[in-house]
Amino acid sequence: MNEMREIILDMTNRLLSDHCNQEAWEQLDEGSWPESIWGLLAEQGLTTVGVSEENGGVGLGFDDMMSIIRLTGYHACPAPLAEAIVANWLIDIAGNVPCSDKSTVALPPADAMPTYGANGTLCGHLKGVAWGSQVDTIVTLCVSETGEEMLAAFLPSKIASSPVDAANLANEPRSDISLEGDAPEWACPLPKSLTAHRLRAVGALLRASQMAGAMERAISFSLEYVNDRKQFGRPIGKFQAVQHMLAIAAEHYSASSVIANAASLTFGGEDFDFMAAIAKARAGEAVQVISDSVHQSHGAIGFTHEYSLQFFTRRLWSWRDEFGNERQWQREVGRKVLDAGADGLWPMITSLGVK
C-alpha cells in the first residue's frame, strides 16, 4: 500500500499543481464552478480514493486519504475534492454506490441534526454546507425519531426548498439548505464504529489537514519572497526581525502538521476523537500567528488581490471556523482531561495512539 500511496500522492500533487493556479483561483473567486478541473480529478479516480477496491475505488487507508486532502489545501484546490473524498468514503461504508462523484458532507452539530422521520423523509436545517449547490449528492448526519444516529444521502436538485447560497471568506461556496420532508436517496443507521461525534471529528481533521497544506504553501511563498525582495541593499530575509517572524510561523505550522498527521494515524482506535479535536484546535490557533507572519513579511504586495498569498490566507481564516473552531474543540479536549482528573492526565497522554 505504501507504493500505491506514493503513486497516488505524486499524481494528485502533479495534477493539482498543473491546474490549481492563479487563473483557477481567480475563477472561483469570481464565482464560477471549475468543471474542467473537476473532470480531471474524477477521471483519475481521485474522488473515490477512499472507496473500497471492490467498489471501484482505490481503498486508501484513512491516513492516506488525509494526506491527499492536505494537498487540496496546499494547492487551494478550487473544487470540493476533499469533501467528495470523505463523502464517497462514507457512501461506500454505508453500503451504497456513489451516484456521481460530485458530493459533499454535512456534519451538523448534535443539537442541529435533521430528523429522519418514520415516513422516510428528512426535516431540518443544514448550515454552511460546503459546495452544497454545486454537488449532485450531499451526505449528511441525521437522527431518527427514536434518537438513533443515522447517515443519509440526498440530491440537492430534488429537494423542495431552494438553498440560500453564500460563501466563506475565500469565496468558496457555502449553502444553507432546508429539508422539509424530502426523501433521501438512502438512509441507514451509522455503523457501530462511526458515531456522529466521530464523524464530526473526521470533519475537523479534514479541515485541519487542509489547513496544514495551506500553511505550508503560505510560508513557502514568504520564504521565497523575503529572499528575493531587496530593501536597504539586501534581501529583507537577512533582517533578524523578518527571520524570527518566519521562524515562529514555521513552528506553529510544524505543530499543526505533525499533530494532524498523528491524528490521522489513530483512526480506527479509541483515541481518534481526542486527537482529531487536538489537531483542529492546534491548527485553528496557529492561523493567527501564521497569517500575521506571512502577510507582514510580504508587505503591501501581499495585501493585494493579484498576489496569490491571499488565496491561502483567506482559506485559513475560513477553514479555522468550519467543522468547529478551536474554542469548541479545546473545550472537548478539556472536558475529557478534567473528567480523567489530575492524576489521569499522564496515563491519558502516554497512551495516545498506542496499539
Partner: protein
C-alpha cells in the same frame, strides 16, 4: 526551504510500553517509600541517581560493553518523560546521560570510555557542562579559556560560568581554545573532560533569583588534563559541541518543565468546570500533546542516526513558549488564596524558574536564527 522541516511520523515500538511499565514501577516504589518528594527534575540527588542507575535506566542506548543496554532512543525517551512527569530528582544524572556520556562514547579514547561510561550508567559518576564564560554566552566560539600543551596532556587556564551543578559533579566538559580561531572563527577549539577534584579548580555556586544555587562559576588555574581526557583531536571542539545540540535541545525536558504545575492546576479546576476552564485546559493539553509528538519525532530521527538540529531547535523554542505560558494561564484561572499548598508551591517555583528556560540550552533568539537558516533564509 520548508521541506527541510519534515518531522516524520512517530513509531513507538512495543518495547516502549514494557520500559514505561518498568520505570513507573520503580518510581512508584520510590514515592511510596518516601525516597524522594516530587519536584523539579533539576534537583540533584546522588542517592536517587545511584538507585536509578543500578536499576538499569541510565545510558540505555549505549553499547553493552560500556554499561549500556543497546536500547532505542524511543525507549530512552520514555524513561526521561516518566522521570519528568513523576517529578523525580534527575539532576545528578542529567548531563552525563543526555550529552556528556554520548560525547565520551563517540569521541573519547577507549581507556576513558571503559573507565567512565559504566560509572555514568551505574549512576555513580556525574557531569556538568563548561561552555559559557563571563564574556561568551551565545557567542560560544569566542571563549577565552585556554589550554596549552604540557607533558602528557594540557594545562587549562580560564573561567566558565553558569555550569549547572558544577559544585556537586565529578567532571566538567570544558570547551577551551587550543589554537587560532581561523577564518571560520570556529577552529582551534578543543573539548576536555576535566575532573573537578584536580588541583587548580575552584567552584563557586551562584545564587539565582529563585533562591537556588544550582549553577556555578568554575575557575581553572594551571589545571592539568591528561591526553586520555581529550574528546576527539585537538581542534575538533566546535564540531563536537555542534553535534550534541540536537540531543540537548529536543527532549521532554524542553516541554515538560512546568508539568507539576499543570497537574495541580487540573486538580484545582476539577471542581470548577466552567466552559472557560475546560477551554483553557484543553488548550494547554493541545499544545503539550502536539509538542510531545514533535519531540518524539526528533527522538526517532536520533534513532535513525540523523542530526535533526533544525527540528530540535524548533521543538525547544516552541516548547519553551508553551512552558512559560503555563504559570501565566494558571494564575488567572485559580485563586491562590483558596488554592491548595501543592498548587501554590508549584506556581511559585514555576514563575521564578520560567525566565531561564528560554535562556539555557540555546537562547530563543539563537534558536530562531537557526530555524530561519534551516528554512533557507540567506
Amino acid at each position: 526551504m520548508i521541506e527541510n522541516l519534515a518531522f516524520g511520523a512517530v513509531d513507538m515500538p512495543p518495547e516502549c510500553e514494557e520500559m514505561r511499565k518498568r520505570v513507573r514501577t520503580f518510581l512508584r516504589a520510590e514515592l511510596d517509600q518516601g525516597k524522594y518528594v516530587p519536584s523539579s527534575w533539576v534537583t540533584f540527588d546522588a542517592e536517587f541517581t545511584k538507585r536509578f542507575g543500578e536499576a538499569g535506566f541510565i545510558g540505555v542506548t549505549w553499547p553493552k560493553k560500556y554499561g549500556g543496554q543497546e536500547k532505542s532512543f524511543m525507549e530512552r525517551y520514555v524513561i526521561l518523560e516518566e522521570l519528568l512527569a513523576h517529578g523525580a530528582p534527575a539532576g545528578a544524572q542529567w548531563m552525563g546521560e543526555r550529552q556528556s556520556g554520548l560525547q565520551i562514547l563517540r569521541y573519547a579514547p577507549e581507556e576513558t570510555k571503559v573507565r567512565l561510561l559504566p560509572k555514568i550508567a551505574g549512576g555513580e559518576c556525574f557531569f556538568g557542562i563548561g561552555m559559557s564564560e563571563p564574556n561568551s554566552g551565545s557567542d560560544l566560539s569566542s571563549v577565552r579559556t585556554r589550554a596549552t600543551r604540557a607533558d602528557g596532556g594540557w594545562v587549562i587556564n580560564g573561567a566558565k560560568v553558569w555550569s549547572t551543578n558544577a559544585h556537586r559533579v565529578d567532571n566538567l566538559l570544558v570547551l577551551a581554545r587550543t589554537g587560532d580561531a581561523g577564518k571560520s572563527r570556529h577552529e582551534g577549539l578543543t573539548q576536555f573532560i576535566v575532573t573537578l577534584s584536580t588541583p587548580g579548580v575552584t567552584v563557586s555556586p551562584i545564587r539565582d533569583l529563585s533562591g537556588g544555587r544550582e549553577f556555578c562559576e568554575v575557575v581553572f588555574e594551571d589545571c592539568f588534563v591528561p591526553d586520555a581526557m581529550v574528546l576527539g583531536k585537538e581542534g575538533d571542539g566546535w564540531g563536537i559541541v555542534m553535534s550534541e545540540l540536537a540531543f540537548e535541545r529536543s527532549g521532554p525536558d524542553r516541554i515538560l518543565s512546568p508539568y507539576r504545575l499543570l497537574v495541580e492546576l487540573l486538580r484545582e479546576l476539577e471542581s470548577d468546570r466552567s466552559a472557560e476552564n475546560e477551554c483553557l485546559v484543553g488548550r494547554l493539553v493541545t499544545h503539550m500533546t502536539s509538542l510531545r509528538q514533535m519531540s518524539l519525532s526528533v527522538a526517532g530521527k536520533l534513532q535513525a542516526k540523523e542530526n535533526p538540529i533544525l527540528q530540535a531547535s524548533l521543538v525547544k523554542d516552541l516548547g519553551n513558549a508553551f512552558e512559560q505560558s503555563v504559570s501565566e494561564v494558571s494564575r488567572l484561572a485559580v485563586d491562590s488564596s483558596t488554592a491548595g499548598t501543592a498548587y501554590n508551591k508549584a506556581l511559585r517555583e514555576t514563575v521564578l524558574q520560567a525566565p531561564c528556560w528560554t535562556i539555557r540550552g540555546g537562547t530563543r533568539e539563537i534558536l530562531r536564527g537557526i530555524i530561519a537558516k534551516g528554512l533557507g533564509l540567506r
